[in-house]
């Protein structure tokens, strides 16, 4: 009975906790303004650190726009061994190569989504609804299960971060540095529900 009371209290507390997005107000800002932040690049190389449930690994993440406008994202370790090679194109996503240790549906889906938010893959910009709060604009893109917010300053001059939200709880927060060569100079992808962090820093070549 005591446990039932505790569990009920926790459930009620969670249910009543205020969503950070409930205070967002509608904004009249131009919804298409966010489109200018879609990364445009030829080839960008990032020094990459991944921390996942106590394991740390590092390597190089290459983003390349191919002549047919598709985007390839290749992860190698520092010694040159290729770990994965993903392709993003209008017709869909493909994992072209993945080492067996990483080649699990859930891992690929998560990496695909994380990288997809960053390169603004398959976003219909005209479907955005724009909200505001604390001098920031929230460009909301909703799909069946989650909402993704691209958050800028109040003049839509700087893309600050990306937040992916499920049932009003933050799932993923992506902090972005200033744009350089068409992509953010630094990126930090932090999963909020389990320990999984990816940090990227552009390498000058």
């Amino acid at each position: 009975m005591r446990y039932l009371l505790v569990i009920s209290f926790i459930i009620i507390s969670i249910g009543c906790s205020k969503s950070p997005y409930s205070s967002l107000q509608k904004s009249d800002a131009d919804k298409l303004c966010i489109a200018k932040f879609k990364p445009l690049f030829t080839s960008i190389l990032y020094n990459t650190k991944i921390d996942v449930v106590g394991k740390h690994l590092s390597g190089l993440l290459l983003f390349k726009t191919m002549p047919d406008s598709s985007i390839r994202v290749v992860f190698t370790n520092e010694m040159g061994a290729k770990l994965f090679d993903f392709e993003y194109r209008n017709s869909g996503f493909k994992s072209l190569y993945c080492i067996s240790q990483l080649n699990k549906k859930i891992v690929i889906r998560q990496l695909k989504e994380d990288i997809g938010y960053l390169i603004m893959d398959a976003i219909n910009f005209s479907s955005a609804s724009v909200k505001q709060n604390n001098n920031q604009l929230y460009f909301e893109f909703a799909n069946k299960k989650t909402k993704t917010y691209y958050i800028t300053d109040d003049n839509c001059l700087k893309l600050l971060r990306i937040e992916n939200v499920s049932k009003n709880k933050k799932k993923i927060v992506i902090d972005l540095g200033d744009y350089k060569s068409g992509m953010p100079d630094s990126v930090n992808i932090a999963h909020q529900l389990f320990q999984f962090n990816i940090s990227l820093k552009q390498i000058d070549r």
Binding site: K49, L62, M79, A81, K82, Y97, I99, R205
Partner: protein
């Protein structure tokens, strides 16, 4: 008529196939004993190596090349330090079975037995500098020679190695059997070339170099 043509075609095809197996500029080695003796002599006379290296990762389908540079150190027995200095910092130390890797955030140490890829790289690097590549049972070997170089082609036998490499090609100086470069060819068509330059032999290298702080 057809009966006469078929053997000629087969002969031409087999000739092309045989030649395709010999890399351009190289011939099949006529005297393997001499090569083995040179390799052993070079290994016996080498106590330490200090050099620079340049690594080129070629992502051929993407027409992309990722170049990095660093310093290489080897000391008998089984001690290797590869320190990448540009355009990123990364350190690999092999000290016997222990492998330590250090990026600009963290240091990880583990046994080479617990990581297949590092175990392969560990063995290849050590085999190259210690002259024991011909003894490695994980690979079949083919040896070729040009005027200036030997080419040792190692093809993996085990499934877990075939996932990473089609072959590892080791280019050795024909004079002293020192390693000029390693070319690691992947099944996807990509390859990684590590070229060693400014080589110095038997210089004093303190053991502390092979311990990560």
């Amino acid at each position: 008529m057809l009966k006469k043509i078929i053997p000629i075609i087969l002969l031409i095809v087999s000739f092309i196939t045989i030649n395709a197996q010999v890399p351009k500029g190289f011939n099949a080695l006529s005297n393997e004993t001499e090569f083995r003796q040179k390799l052993v002599a070079a290994s016996n006379s080498t106590q330490s190596i200090k050099s620079n290296f340049t690594q080129e990762k070629n992502l051929n389908v993407l027409s992309e090349k990722i170049t990095s540079k660093g310093e290489f150190r080897f000391k008998k027995q089984n001690k290797v330090r590869m320190e990448y200095t540009s355009p990123f910092k990364y350190l690999l130390i092999i000290n016997g079975d222990k492998i330590t890797i250090k990026d600009d955030q963290k240091t990880n140490s583990f046994s080479s037995k617990s990581n297949k890829l590092f175990a392969v790289i560990n063995n290849i690097v050590l085999d190259c500098v210690q002259g024991t590549a011909l003894e490695n049972k994980d690979f079949t070997k083919k040896i070729f020679k040009s005027d200036k170089e030997y080419l040792l082609i190692l093809s993996p036998q085990k499934k877990e190695l075939k996932e990473f490499f089609n072959s590892i090609n080791i280019y050795l100086d024909a004079k002293d059997c020192s390693v000029i470069k390693l070319d690691m060819l992947e099944p996807t068509g990509d390859n990684t070339v590590i070229t060693f330059t400014n080589k110095e032999y038997n210089v004093v290298i303190p053991d502390a170099v092979f311990i990560s702080n």
